[in-house]
Symmetry: none
Amino acid sequence: MDSLELMKSLAQPSPSKIILLVLDGLGGLPGPDTGKTELETADTPNLNRLAEKGTTGLIDIVSPGITPGSAAGHLSLFGYSPLRFTIGRGALEAVGVDFDLEPGDVAARGNFCTTDKDGLVTDRRAGRIPNEKCTELCRLLDGMTIENTRLFVRPVREHRFIVVFRGEGLNPGVSDSDPQQLGATPKAVTALQPEATKTASIANKFLAQAKSILTEQHPANMILLRGFSERPGFPAMGEIYRLKPVAIAVYPMYRGLARLVGMEILNSGTSLEDEMRTLKENYSAYDFFFLHVKGTDSAGEDGDFERKVRVIEELDRALPGLIDTGPDVMIVTGDHSTPAVLKGHSWHPVPVLLNSRWCRPDRVSEFAESACASGGLGRFPATQVMPLAMAHALKLTKFGA
Amino acid sequence: MDSLELMKSLAQPSPSKIILLVLDGLGGLPGPDTGKTELETADTPNLNRLAEKGTTGLIDIVSPGITPGSAAGHLSLFGYSPLRFTIGRGALEAVGVDFDLEPGDVAARGNFCTTDKDGLVTDRRAGRIPNEKCTELCRLLDGMTIENTRLFVRPVREHRFIVVFRGEGLNPGVSDSDPQQLGATPKAVTALQPEATKTASIANKFLAQAKSILTEQHPANMILLRGFSERPGFPAMGEIYRLKPVAIAVYPMYRGLARLVGMEILNSGTSLEDEMRTLKENYSAYDFFFLHVKGTDSAGEDGDFERKVRVIEELDRALPGLIDTGPDVMIVTGDHSTPAVLKGHSWHPVPVLLNSRWCRPDRVSEFAESACASGGLGRFPATQVMPLAMAHALKLTKFGA
């Protein structure tokens, strides 16, 4: 029996409420001067109080040494093993722009690119055109119907976009058109299995039309497609945990991931303040709240140690508003580490705190990487965060008689 | 290779001796006033000395967040993954009353119930009749022979009993007669597979006889059966670990579980003192001793924090007698937590101490939940307790050349 089956067999509905607060990229590394991480540098009296009364630990998102992407990070926190529950590139990009993929849709990741007069690719990213240009070009390509299949084209960022095919009998088993090298022509899309013949045909017709439509554009006079994939059929959190889960997230990627595991999505505004207000206003309607804070990760990616510290402090100041809602279980953690000194995601384990009246206290009175290393939860896989949350919310029956 | 196969391939007989002392439901949570758990509150100089000279840690019985039943707890301590080695309801209840299930037997859990004049169930528990009444009614039903199959009926507690079918060609693949709701008639038992036709027929004849025998009784005028199951075919500890294991337990459930993994069972009297004397008297005849102390769990289940503290202190005072036998490895732990504040089993990890001359010492000098959280054994699955015991008893050869 795997972990999700075990949860499904033990979960029982109850009025208790769980808040999972994810500070994206929370984990860090020491800055060069002080030897303290971003979280250790930040003044966080409210987080520390939660840690003191609760219990703490360190989580591995995938496994030690593995740097997770955003999808793996969040799926793991929701209890879905990221090695087992994977998402194709096209579907992930669609999810990332909040495109509501339906079962049967096939999504591909697109690049605007530059080709020369012979049709050879000279720049796979079309000089990283600005977002506005990308949006404008996507409008030119959007809205076709080919072989009774509707095509949706949506901008992502710079040269990146998605195309989604919606119709009967589609299949993602087709090859990429992206040659992945310069000086080559874009490749024809081919069916990798008989069921995908129609999809390959539609894709090639779309590529031909795009070539014609973009011919006068520069530098983005052609497109490349890759990562054809479907919406993954993940079991819904509501069925596994018997919860009514909801996502509160400003960024589309996180709403999209939440949608893939069956959460409802609330309109969450544009700021942490908006998110907090959204949660309070909807507190009575749900019993599991996934609240996502992006700023920590963005600052880490930018290598801005001080800004990451400030985002954490801002969150800490807003925390009493969240605590006042009175959840039975409150968890604060991250989906991966994003140390400012690395300017990107990293493999370092992520501090986690769990606060509930049924915690066994540990000696940790600070929410920080080094403190959590001696926390009562120990070091454990992130997929066990949800079972622990469920247990402390008294939402699980006994295993065996 | 799974863990038991690994043990079987590495274990070698030796004269060294292991004592596994299980304080049932040992783990706790802080009482409301002091912030200390039952174990932290208890004055335990002898346990502390063992912890100081040995090494400590915290164990997860099933996995983080999962609350185990007694069977899962003990199987895990004996090294059998509780997710893999499961026991059907009827078999577990039979084990729980010390009924020596034989291979081929089929056991079912029974309820005395109340039905009205139309045969509809009005109380699935017959008003929870007293134990004495249950015993009296079981005597009325015990001892039938149906289709060359002997039937054993034994009281459990209140309205609960077991029936065991012993004969040729039985099969547990039959449905329950318990409709699991009021206002319905008891259901006929049906074969869920062709091999179970005979068993279903016997069960239905037994139900008809029981109805006739109980017709004048009130409120227990009928029975319901469920959870038909066989004695599980677990590999024997003696074969896996090449040990001669023995169980010393006052309560039948724990003797029964020990029997399922092939331990010998000693007549252990009725008290901790009796158990200690039993161990001493039989010390030369075995090399693995499972010694079970029930009082900690009972006090926890009753929500009696102080009594649980006293049971632990009583055990601590008796401990020198055990230590004096001079085992090569002594382990003290629990099969799950039973915090008095929760009045039941819980998911919290269980402190464990391992004392042997081959321990690598840690900084822990106290046997308590918070101290063990920083113990040298770390936090680990309970199924690894036996491999650690075997290793410290120098009963395992090297893995690989």
